[in-house]
C-alpha cells in the first residue's frame, strides 16, 4: 500500500474525509504502485470486473420483463426478444456475456497458475478468487435454467439429481432442492431468486479479492518481490488504467462479434424448444464452460464416485498454494514445471471436448485418462517437481539484470517471449 498520507485540498473534502476516508481510498487506488512489467495476461482482472457489471446491469433489465413461471418463462423470453425495445440486444449481451465472463476467468486462473500468483503471500486472494469462480458456476447454471427450454429443464434435472448420490439423505436433499418431486415450477422460482442474489455475493467477494490484492500488491511475470513504490512500479493511474482500457476494448470487439453476428453459437439449439418433462433430448450437455467437470463426472462408473471426483476437481484448487513446493513463483524460471503447465492446459481442453461427446468408446477412455492426469498434476507433479526441479537464475529486480550487473530494462519481457 502507498504509505504517504493523503490530505484533501478543500475544506469540505477534509471535513468529509475525516469522517469517511473515501477520498483516501480513491487516492490509494489511483496511486497504487503496480509492477511496470505486467503483460496483457494481467488485464483480465479489469475485464472480469467489466463482465460482472455488464451481467448485473443487463440482468436487472431482463428481470423487469422476465416471468419466473413454468408456463410463462419461455413465452416471456420470446416477449423480450420480440416486443421489448432492444430486448434482443440486452438478452444476447447477457447470454453471451456469461460465456465471455468464463472465457476471461479461465484465462485469469491459468495466468495465476503459470506465474505462481496463488503462492505466498497471495493465498487468500487465490482462495477468494476460487469462491468467486464457484459462485459464478452456480449463477451460470441457474441462469441457463431460466429460459425453461429443453436444455434448461434437463440440465437442471441432471445436476440436481447429482445430490441424490449422497448416501441415506440424498433423495430427501434432492426433493428439498426441487421444492417438488421433480424439477418443476418451485425449482424455477427459487433458481430465479438465487440467480438474482448470487451476482451481488460475487460483487462483495470481488471487493475482498481486490482488497486482499492491494495488501501484498500484484505479482508480476518475473514473479519476484519488488519494492513499492520504486523504479519497478508505476502508479495505477494512468499507466494501468489506460492499458486495461485498451485490452478491454479488444475484448469488447470479440464480445460484440458474438452478440451481433453469431449470438446463438455458444448455446444449444434444443433450448429454443420449450421444456417438456416427457421428452428427453438425445444428448444432455451443459454449457461449454462446465464441460471439463462434466467429463470428470461421467468418467467414473459410480454416481457417488463421479460426484465426489467432480467436486474434488474444484476443491483441490483451494489447497494448491500448499501443494506447490517450489520457492520460485513464475514458470518463466521453471523449465520443467512449465512443460507440465502446458500439458495441464491441453488436458483441461481435452476434458472439455470429451465432455461434449457421448460418454462411450474412445471418449470415455480419454475422459478417464484426462481425469487421472488432472489429479496427478496437482497431487504428484506439483509437489515433486517443485522439490526436484533446478530452476533458472532469477533477476534481482524487474529493472536489474540477472546476476550480471548489466542493465537490461526489458529483460523480463524478453524472457517471457521465449515461453
Amino acid at each position: 500500500m502507498s504509505e504517504q498520507e493523503y490530505t484533501p485540498k478543500s475544506k469540505a473534502g477534509k471535513w468529509f474525509n475525516d469522517r469517511l476516508p473515501l477520498l483516501t481510498l480513491g487516492a490509494h487506488l489511483t496511486d497504487y504502485p503496480t509492477p511496470k512489467n505486467l503483460n496483457y495476461w494481467w488485464t483480465f482482472g479489469g475485464i472480469l470486473t467489466f463482465c460482472l457489471i455488464t451481467q448485473i446491469v443487463t440482468g436487472i433489465v431482463l428481470a423487469m420483463h422476465y416471468v419466473a413461471h413454468a408456463d410463462l418463462a419461455f413465452a416471456s423470453v420470446e416477449h423480450i426478444m420480440r416486443d421489448v425495445n432492444y430486448g434482443w440486444l440486452i438478452r444476447y449481451i447477457h447470454s453471451n456475456g456469461a460465456s465471455m465472463f468464463f472465457l476471461a476467468v479461465y484465462i485469469h486462473i491459468f495466468r495465476s497458475l503459470f506465474y505462481g500468483s496463488y503462492k505466498s503471500p497471495r493465498e487468500v486472494i487465490w482462495i477468494i478468487g476460487l469462491m468467486i469462480y464457484l459462485l459464478m458456476m452456480a449463477a451460470a447454471f441457474m441462469g441457463y435454467v431460466l429460459p425453461w427450454g429443453q436444455m434448461s429443464f434437463w440440465g437442471a434435472t441432471v445436476i440436481t439429481n447429482l445430490f441424490s448420490a449422497i448416501p441415506l439423505v440424498g433423495d430427501s436433499i434432492t426433493t428439498w432442492l426441487w421444492g417438488a418431486y421433480s424439477v418443476d415450477n418451485p425449482t424455477l422460482n427459487r433458481f430465479f431468486s438465487l440467480h438474482y442474489l448470487i451476482p451481488f455475493l460475487i460483487l462483495g467477494l470481488v471487493v475482498l479479492h481486490i482488497w486482499a490484492l492491494h495488501v501484498p500488491g500484484n505479482n508480476n511475470p518475473v514473479g519476484i518481490d519488488i519494492k513499492k513504490p520504486s523504479k519497478d512500479t508505476v502508479p495505477f493511474h494512468p499507466y494501468i488504467t489506460i492499458k486495461d482500457a485498451f485490452a478491454l476494448l479488444v475484448f469488447m470487439i470479440i464480445f460484440a462479434g458474438f452478440v451481433f453476428f453469431t449470438p446463438n453459437v455458444l448455446g444449444h439449439s434444443d433450448n429454443y424448444i420449450p421444456a417438456n418433462p416427457l421428452v428427453t433430448p438425445a444428448h444432455i450437455v451443459p454449457e461449454w464452460y462446465l464441460l471439463p467437470f462434466y467429463a470428470i463426472l461421467r468418467s467414473v462408473p459410480d454416481k457417488l464416485g463421479g460426484v465426489i471426483l467432480m467436486f474434488s476437481a474444484i476443491f483441490i484448487l483451494f489447497v494448491l498454494p500448499w501443494l506447490d513446493t517450489s520457492k520460485v513463483r513464475s514458470a518463466v524460471f521453471r523449465p520443467i514445471y512449465r512443460q507440465f503447465f502446458w500439458i495441464l492446459v491441453i488436458d483441461v481442453l481435452m476434458l472439455g471436448y470429451v465432455g461434449a461427446m457421448p460418454a462411450e468408446g474412445i471418449y470415455l477412455v480419454l475422459a478417464r485418462v484426462g481425469t487421472i492426469y488432472y489429479f496427478l498434476h496437482f497431487i504428484v507433479v506439483m509437489p515433486v517437481v517443485g522439490y526436484l526441479e533446478k530452476t533458472d537464475p532469477i533477476p534481482m529486480s524487474i529493472s536489474e539484470p540477472v546476476l550480471t550487473g548489466r542493465a537490461e530494462p526489458s529483460l523480463a519481457r524478453k524472457v517471457n517471449d521465449k515461453v
Partner: protein, 260 residues
Amino acid sequence: MIKSNIKLLVLSFLLIISLRPLQSAEMVDPIKVDWSFKGLTGTFDRASLQRGFQVYKEVCASCHSMQYLSYRNLGEPGGPEFSEQEVKAIAASFEIEDGPDSQGEMFTRPGKPSDKFKSPYPNVQAATAANGGAYPPDMSVLVKARKGGANYIYSVLVGYEDPPPGVTLDDGVYYNKYMAGNKIKMPNNLMDGLVEYADGTESTVDQMAKDVTTFLAWAAEPELEERHKTGVKVIIYLVLLTILVYLSMKKIWSRIDTEV
C-alpha cells in the same frame, strides 16, 4: 525440446477432434444454401419473405402454430414489410376468439394487427391427437431450435424419398433423408404449382421450400437485419476507439523506460 513436446500434444489434440466426423457419419449433412441473410451484412429477400408467408398461410398453418408472432410483425421493418392496409387485411381474414364480453360470453371478431397469429388447434394435446400422435411443433423459433438452422429446415422440406429397400414404414410415417432417424410423421406437403404466387414466380417445390424457410428464419430472428446493421456500426466504433486508446497508451507509457 519444450516446444516440440507442446506441438506434439496440440497435434494429438487436433487429431482427436478430427475423429469426430467419422463417428457421426450416419446423419446426412443438410444441404448448404447461400441464404441472403447469412454473413455480417445479410438481409432478408423481401419478396421471398412475402411468398414464404403465403406458403406458410396456405400450407403450414393448417397444422403448425406460430404463437409468438403478431400480424403487426408482418408490416414491421426488417420483415416481409407488407403495407399497413395489407397487414390489416391479413389480420381481418382470421376470426379471433375474444372476450369475455360484459355478459360473460366469449365471442369471435375479425383479427386486428395486434393479435397473435391464430393457432390451428386449441392446445398441444389437440394438435397431437389430430396428427397421428406427433405434435407439429410451433414454428416461431423453429429455425433456432434445430441444429443446422435454415439449411436443415430447407433440407427436410425437399428431403422426402422412397424408403430404401429393407426399410418398412408404418402408416402415417414417411421417409426423409435429412430427418434424424429418417422417419417423419409430416407428409410431403409441397408439390409443384401448389400455391399461386401473387408476384408470378413459378412455385416449384424448391422455390416454395426456400421461400418458406426464409420466412421461418425471419420469424425466429425478426431482429436480424437491425442486429447486423447495429453490429457493423458498433464494431467500427469500437475499432476506432481502440486505436485512439492504443495511441494514448503508447504516449503515456513513453514517459517511462518500459515498452507496453
